[in-house]
């Protein structure tokens, strides 16, 4: 039932087919790659079904109908974590998905950005601490967010203040990939115009999205990455319903005027996005997070000097070790 790889370019897929022994992907193939994704967007844009469709099973079940009394009390933003193990073209991925229900749903949403930033920084801080331990934990699980998928409302106009603020604030801490949720509410022309308007806003406000073309060393890949960037923001339509037709199981949304097949690349960018997230660019996203975003954070943190005391539940021996390390760092 896995959607076939979209036809970006055959060289792209072959590039991933034989992993180089020193590559991150090869080493972690045995263990299963650690991959952490965060989903952010207002309610009603399809985060839950996106995850279910991405993993091809029901990871997040539909929420039970809340009581009318509690339904409209603005819940503060939550961080719900889901662990999913998937296998993509031979690679095992140990994926953690963090959903953030409540983002942007209240009357005053200005606190949301800080909460998200704090969460992401906390994961960086954990790694910072762990790295500096004398005795490191070999089983340490990296919780740094490698990708943040941001759901934009399909208004047909341009970005809204919430969208601009979010990308502006978080772009330096995490790779942000913008998607248009519920993209089936836009016609083909409207979608094209909307994508254009959004990208113009991105340029105008200099919003830091994930730059697919960050690695300029490989010119072949660069060309493909430029083509991929033309698709941003990715239009996404997702659903829970699976239909059996003559070709097998198909995921569709059925309307009185027709049905949209989620996996059909001509109708939405979901298949392409899935391939990017779980196949072609998973290594890039992880590498950029570790080599650039985290390193920048680390440098800033150490320069400011806000680091030195290692957090430890350990015994006194460890404390002494950390003190020594702190002294070395000065």
């Amino acid at each position: 039932m896995a959607p076939s790889a979209p036809s970006i370019n055959s060289t792209m897929s072959s590039r991933m087919a034989t992993p180089r022994p020193s590559s991150y992907r090869y080493k972690s193939e045995k263990r299963g790659m650690t991959y952490n994704i965060m989903l952010v967007g207002q309610s009603g844009l399809g985060r839950r079904t996106f995850l279910n469709t991405l993993c091809e099973r029901e990871v997040i079940s539909p929420p039970e109908a809340p009581n009318p009394e509690t339904a409209n009390i603005a819940d503060p933003m939550r961080f719900d974590t889901y662990e999913v193990n998937i296998e993509e073209e031979g690679t095992r991925i140990s994926m953690t998905v963090i959903d953030t229900p409540g983002f942007g749903d209240g009357l005053d949403n200005t606190e949301c950005f800080k909460q998200l930033q704090d969460y992401i920084e906390a994961q960086f801080d954990e790694v910072l601490v762990e790295e500096s331990r004398i005795k490191r934990n070999r089983r340490y699980r990296d919780h740094r967010i490698h990708t943040l998928i941001y759901f934009i409302t399909p208004t047909g106009h341009s970005l809204r203040e919430l969208d601009i603020e979010l990308i502006k604030r978080l772009g330096e801490y995490v790779n942000i990939i913008p998607v248009i949720g519920r993209a089936d509410s836009l016609t083909v022309e409207e979608l094209a115009t909307f994508k254009q308007n959004v990208m113009r806003d991105i340029d105008y406000y200099k919003l830091p999205l994930y730059n697919f073309c960050w690695d300029e060393s490989d010119s072949e890949a660069l060309k493909e990455n430029r083509e991929i960037m033309d698709y941003t923001p990715f239009s996404v339509v997702t659903c829970d319903e699976v239909l059996d037709n003559e070709f097998g199981a198909v995921r569709v949304r059925r309307y009185p005027w027709g049905s949209i097949e989620i996996d059909d690349e001509g109708q939405c960018d979901f298949a392409l996005l899935r391939y990017i997230l779980l196949n072609s660019h998973i290594a890039d996203l992880i590498n950029y997070t570790e080599d650039v975003l985290y390193e920048n954070y680390r440098t800033k943190k150490l320069e400011v000097g806000g680091f030195g005391e290692g957090e430890d539940q350990g015994d006194e021996e460890n404390d002494e070790d950390d003190e020594v390390l702190g002294a070395k760092n000065e």
Partner: protein, 342 residues
């Protein structure tokens, strides 16, 4: 006064009043004022242009990157006169760009409520003038189309806050405008939830039950209430479907005809607003919302006068010296404290 076929000696002829009224109506025309409340991108301008089959307003959404993001809700009324079969309507559409568009939407409804109350106040002022116009210009809002967000499971916190306040001052009609991204099952579930939540919060939307209702009226109103919120699709574009030209939207997977009842409630909404309940909307505004406003305003004046009289009697300084004397009560500036309480 042409001879009627009923002209027997017992036929009095007062039933011709309907024709006399019609003639007056044709001469005078009438005002119809609608306010659109909903965040940008919900399809407000497209829908109102579709309902009246003319390009009445432009969308106020941000299109170019250089356009500034609005920091507050603006009130943007546009007036046009439409004519159909000799009947003229002076139609005012009030758009509310900026509503619910910021990160912090606390109080974004205040300009909207203030505008609606200001129109009641302006009418009251004209009514109270010693020398008043024969026909008072009516800028009162007769209908408020409230646009819900498709995809939310029910009312959002902002919706509850605003609907409570809106339903106290005007006739509210809840709408899902871009309903073409919802399947029929999703729509049904959404409508059911909205009705439950409206009932729970005691938010009463138009049409209201009335003692004057006939059996026919009750049946019609019940069927309208079933449909609420109206799941509509608007379009100003004419496309070709099976050789016919229809107003619709063309998706990659099918074509929506906005007049097709299996596709959307557009026809029902239009008939409801314009063909069956148009005069109700105008009348109920005058009889219910305006009367409530008028009563509370006049009571306040009475209390104010009583307080001033009491203060004068005790020889103290008149209370609230900053307020102008009660003879010119209804200018929006004076009683602004009570009116803008949103």
């Amino acid at each position: 006064m042409s001879a009627s076929p009923n002209d027997t000696q017992d036929y009095v002829g007062f039933d011709t009043i309907t024709q006399q009224m019609e003639r007056k109506f044709l001469k005078r025309g009438f005002n119809f004022n609608v306010i659109l409340v909903g965040e940008s991108g919900m399809g407000k301008s497209t829908l109102i242009n579709s309902i009246f089959a003319s390009h009445l307003i432009d969308t106020q959404g941000r299109r170019a990157a250089q356009e500034v993001i609005r920091k507050t809700t603006e009130i943007s009324p546009v007036t046009q006169t439409l004519e159909e079969n000799g009947v003229r309507v002076k139609l005012t559409i009030v758009d509310t760009p900026g509503y619910s568009d910021q990160c912090n939407n606390e109080g974004c409804w205040i300009p909207v409520i203030k505008y609606i109350k200001d129109q009641h106040a302006a009418y009251l002022e004209r009514e109270l003038k010693p020398l008043r116009d024969r026909v008072i210009v009516d800028t009162r809002i007769h209908a408020c189309l409230y646009f819900l967000n498709p995809g939310s499971r029910g009312l959002r916190p902002l919706d509850v806050e605003v609907l409570k306040r809106l339903t106290e001052v005007t006739n509210v009609i809840p709408i899902i405008a871009k309903s073409d991204s919802m399947t029929i099952e999703e729509r049904t579930a959404f409508k059911r939830r909205i009705k439950e939540e409206l009932a729970f919060h005691r938010i009463v939307v138009f049409p209201y039950p009335s003692d004057e209702d006939t059996e026919e009226d009750r049946v019609l109103n019940a069927s309208i209430r079933e449909l609420i919120p109206f799941a509509v699709v608007g379009s100003e574009e004419v496309i070709e479907v099976n050789g016919k030209l229809v107003r619709g939207r063309r998706h990659g997977w099918g074509v929506i005809n906005i007049f097709d009842e299996s596709h959307s409630d557009f026809v029902h909404l239009r008939n409801f607003m314009l063909r069956t309940h148009l005069s109700d909307l105008v009348e109920v505004t005058a009889q219910r919302h305006y009367e409530q406003f008028r009563t509370s305003q006049l009571r306040q004046i009475k209390e104010l006068r009583a307080q001033q009289a009491a203060a004068a009697a005790t020889g103290g300084a008149p209370p609230m010296p900053s307020q102008a004397p009660p003879q010119a009560p209804m200018a929006s500036g004076v009683m602004h404290q009570p009116m803008t309480q949103a």
